[in-house]
Every structure is written in structure tokens, then in C-alpha cells.
Amino acid sequence: MSQKTFALLAWILVLGAILIVVVLVSLSLGSVNIPLGRIVEVIFQRKGSVEHSIIFDLRMSRILLGFAVGSSLGLSGVILQGMFRNPLVEPYTLGISGGAALGVCLNIVLGVSKIGGGLSLPLSGFLGALGVILMVYFLSARKTFRIQGLLLTGVMISFIASSLIMLIMAVSRVEELQGIIFWIMGSLEESNWFLIITMLLVSLAGLLAAYLFCFDLNALALGEEEARHLGINVERTKRMLFILASLLTGCSVSVAGIIGFVGLAIPYFIRLLTGIDYRFLLIGSFLAGGAFLILCDTLARTVISPLEFPVGVITGIIGGSVFVYFLHTGPQQLFRKT
């Protein structure tokens, strides 16, 4: 095994260890603090005790969802930044979040959720996201896949979607308004285990699928023409990666709302740690995205307990500050193009 492979494996282990620590801390903290030492014991206890119910019903569900959403966003971000060769692209740049938000808004205003039940909000969010994905794809990717055109189309669709959302908000009633705002701020509170498991499977499947393209992404870092010289079918690869990243984002947004920053900055920091090798970047962003979102959610629900911050606020404040700090003091290669 080469020295480099060894170093990359070591990083994956470190990130895995961080993830486990974050999960344990998150399980232990809350309105009732359960000491770290008791957690393993409680997990293997039989059902029925209060602590068991707190850990499994309240905290575990949020942690699993946080991991699934965070890792999906991290993965989607690293894929998009790779194929666009632009570190400022993030999962929401393509207008997918706007589409999902619009879907949810329409659902709330039209009162579908009262009839459709718990699954109707995520479903309408997903339909909105899917609508945007198809629109962006057919507008700018059907014939020749022009990266810049795709980006501009995505940004414009974001604008249109947010304008439409504002329009809807302007004419909606107060309680509907509250529902819309609450959804847009993003939350990992979800009691439906079907959704949580689905989201977990989506994120894992996303990692496996993306990993098949790790060398394509490595080659694409040299530019599209160079990638072709290396035997990559660039058009097909971009198409597949676009669809993959969009689906990951679409699913995340429809389950957890708009949680910013994870998909933008996590890939950035991971790239800083290890350089441009997608064999590691994909796994790294996946693990770090998950760990970061769990950490932020833990803070969101404990800092002003029993009240809660929206988790998107925490990711934005913490992540953004760290990012700006590094921008001015950190190593310069962080801000070189990919």
C-alpha cells in the first residue's frame, strides 16, 4: 500500500472517529442529560425505560436523519464542485431548493397537507425539486451539456422560485405563513421512521453510485478536454453526476428543508485536508457532512433548551464564521480553484 493511500485511509478513520464521538455526545445531551458511560448500557437495555425511549425515539431519529441529510449535502456539494470546477457551487445553486420550497408552499397554501397527512410535505417538496431538475436538465443539458449554461439556468430558476414563494407568502394567512417559514428554515425533527430510513438509504446509495465516478471526477479536475484525452466519456459522466447530485439534494431538501452551508463548505475543508483525490473526497465529504450536521443540530436543540434554534441558523453561523476565519488566516490553497 502506498504512503498516500495509507494517509488517506488514516484520514477516513479520523473522520469516522469524529463522527462516532459526535453521535455519542449528541445522544447524551438534551433536556435530560444521560452520561456518556450509560449510553451503551441504555442502548442494549430492553424497551420501556425512559432513557431508552429518549435515546431511541427522540435523539436517535434526529441523529440518523442529520447524518443522512448532512452526508447527502456534503456529497452533492463535492460532486457539483468537481464537475463545475468551481468551489463556489453548492447543492442549492442549481435551483433545486427553490423548487422544493415552492412545492411545499403550494402544498401548505392549498391545504393539501391537511388531507394528505405526514408524508405530503416531503412529497410535494420532492416533486418541486424534481420539476426544477427536469427543467434545468432539458433547458441546458439535453443536447450538449454546457456547464456555464446549466449554472445560469439554475440561478435564474432560484430567483423565479423565490419570487413566487414571496408572492404566495404575501397572499397567505398567518398560520400558513408560519408553516412556510418554519419549513424553509429547515429542521431535522421527523417522527416518520419510513422517511428517515429512506433518506439513509438514499445517501448510502448516493455514495456508492458516486464512487463509481471517482476517477472520472479526478480526470475532470484537469478540465473537460483533458478528461476526454484520458478516456472519460465526459458528456455521459456529467449527465449522470448531475442527476445524482440533484436527487441527493432534492431528497435532503424535501425531508429537512433548506439547510445551508454544509454542501458548500464541507467539501472545501476536506479538499484542504487532503488535496484533490475523489477516492477520498467523496467519502470524506460524506462523513464530515453527516458529523457536522449532527453537531449543529445538537447545539440547536441544547443551547437555549427547552426552546430550539432552527438548525440552518446554526450551520450558517458556525460554518460561516469558521469559513471567514480561514479565509483570512488559513492556508492559501483553500481558495485556489479546484
Binding site: C214, A219, L230
Partner: protein
């Protein structure tokens, strides 16, 4: 090895190349020369399937490249293009390993012993092993060009395409790069297609030259057949003097400034008057 038959192609509806016919034999070092905009790079892009021919065919070892997968093409030919990203922050060794991508099997995620051997050989051939750990963007222009060639060699190509590899380099590096390419051609039996701007270097190093002019082939042949002042003046619209290199006996092209041309002309006119 590589052959174009009636090749025509271009960007959008504008034709950049019309009816190109040429053939590079196995183990040949064929130089492509011609003025800016004569379609040299477009020809390379057609051969690498970046743009599709609108007419005609390109055959690689007798097989139409239109029906070949990109991966298959990349195992047979490697390209050192002008478009190589020079601000790429990646260790030289990792960069060379990218050249092994076309040879990877499905689900092979780690480098094999053989991959490492091949990039080691590529580094030995190009004399780049001493900066294997350094970042690509920290190298000088000449060193970087050697690394680009090493990456192409990591693909184990039978055909090597180079687009002005000596651009912006000093004379020492120009000679070093072209000596290397000639060695690869002679000793490692790699067929080479190389675009060069410097006519003297092209004449010195290539077996044959293809002189291109506004999207067509003006003349193809041995350097002394192509580098005549008639051909050059016709294609480049520039007055030149062709001499012989005293050492290699290859054609050598000299340029004359406007001032000198005027002086020469007035001198001949004056001597003409005196004779009258």
C-alpha cells in the same frame, strides 16, 4: 498508424478543415506546421474526438475512430495539449497516476504495482523523478512540460499527439523537449504527431512535415521538400531566405526585417542605375 481521408470538420456551421488527407506511418515523427488559424489544433481535436468530423474519416491503426470508445482511444493515443491547466495544485506523482485512468479495470480503486512501475519509467524517461513530490504549479515552464509528457507516457500510448510543446520555453528546454520526443520516437517506437510553430525546429527534428494553410494541406513531404522559400512565402505571406544548417544539412529559414529588405531593394535599384 493514423490516417485522415477526406476529413472535413469545424465548429458550428463554419468549416475549419476541408478535405484533409494524410497518413502517418508507424514509428514516424510527423510535424504539422502552418500559420495561426490554419487548423492545426482543430485537426488534433478531430483526431481526439473532441469535435466530430462533418465529412470523411479518421483511421487509427486501420480502424475508424468514430466507432471507438474514449477509453479505448486513450489506451492507444495520448495528448499533450496547450490546454493543460498549469495552476493545478497536485503532486507530480499523483498527476502522473491520472495517466493510468484509461487502463483501470472496473471497481479497481487502488494503484497496482504495475501502475507504479509504469509511472516510474515515465519519470525516468523524462528525467522528472527528482520532483515527484513537488506540486505541479510550483514547477517552471520547462519542467512542467516534461511532466505533461510523462503523464502522456503513463498512458502507454502507441501514438503521441503534441500541440506546440516548446511554446514559451527557452532554447535549452526547446532542444531538451524535442530531443526527448525524438528519443521516444526512435527507441520506444512511439508514432508522433507534433504541431510546431518554429519552422527550423520542425525541419530539424521531424521525418516529414505537413504544411497547412487555411484549413487545408498545402504540402506534405520531407523537410527539404516542404521548407522551400516558395512554399513558405506562399503560405505565410512573408519573405524568407532558406539556407542549410551547416551541421545537419536540414533547411534553415532566415527572416529579414522590413528595413533591411528596403535597403537591399534600393541597393539593387542603385546598382541598376549605374549599370545603365
Amino acid at each position: 498508424m493514423i490516417e485522415a481521408r477526406g476529413l472535413g470538420c469545424g465548429y458550428d456551421s463554419r468549416f475549419a478543415l476541408k478535405d484533409i488527407n494524410f497518413k502517418a506511418a508507424e514509428n514516424e515523427l510527423l510535424g504539422i506546421i502552418g500559420p495561426n488559424g490554419s487548423g492545426k489544433t482543430t485537426l488534433i481535436r478531430a483526431i481526439t474526438k473532441i469535435i466530430r468530423p462533418q465529412s470523411g474519416r479518421i483511421l487509427l491503426e486501420g480502424e475508424d475512430i468514430d466507432g471507438m470508445e474514449f477509453g479505448e482511444l486513450a489506451r492507444k493515443m495520448a495528448v499533450v495539449s496547450q490546454g493543460c491547466d498549469t495552476e493545478f495544485d497536485i503532486p507530480v506523482e499523483d498527476y502522473l497516476l491520472l495517466g493510468r485512468i484509461p487502463h483501470r479495470k472496473a471497481f479497481q480503486f487502488l494503484e497496482t504495482e504495475r501502475d507504479m512501475e509504469i509511472i516510474q519509467r515515465a519519470m525516468d524517461l523524462t528525467d522528472t523523478a527528482r520532483f515527484r513530490k513537488r506540486s505541479l504549479n510550483k514547477l517552471s515552464g520547462g519542467e512542467r512540460q516534461l511532466v505533461f509528457i510523462a503523464r502522456a507516457l503513463a498512458q502507454e500510448p502507441r501514438l503521441l499527439l503534441l500541440d506546440e510543446p516548446t511554446n514559451h520555453l527557452d532554447i535549452a528546454h526547446q532542444v531538451k523537449i524535442l530531443d526527448l520526443i525524438r528519443r521516444l520516437n526512435r527507441e520506444n517506437k512511439i508514432t508522433v504527431l507534433i504541431i510546431l510553430h518554429d519552422l527550423n525546429l520542425a525541419g530539424e527534428y521531424c521525418d516529414r512535415l505537413m504544411l497547412m494553410d487555411i484549413g487545408g494541406v498545402h504540402k506534405i513531404g520531407r523537410p527539404e521538400e516542404v521548407l522551400t522559400y516558395q512554399n513558405i512565402e506562399q503560405v505565410y505571406k512573408t519573405i524568407v531566405v532558406v539556407e542549410k544548417n551547416p551541421v545537419s544539412a536540414k533547411p534553415y529559414i532566415l527572416l529579414v526585417s522590413e528595413e533591411e529588405r528596403a535597403r537591399k531593394q534600393s541597393k539593387t535599384e542603385r546598382s541598376g542605375h549605374r549599370n545603365k
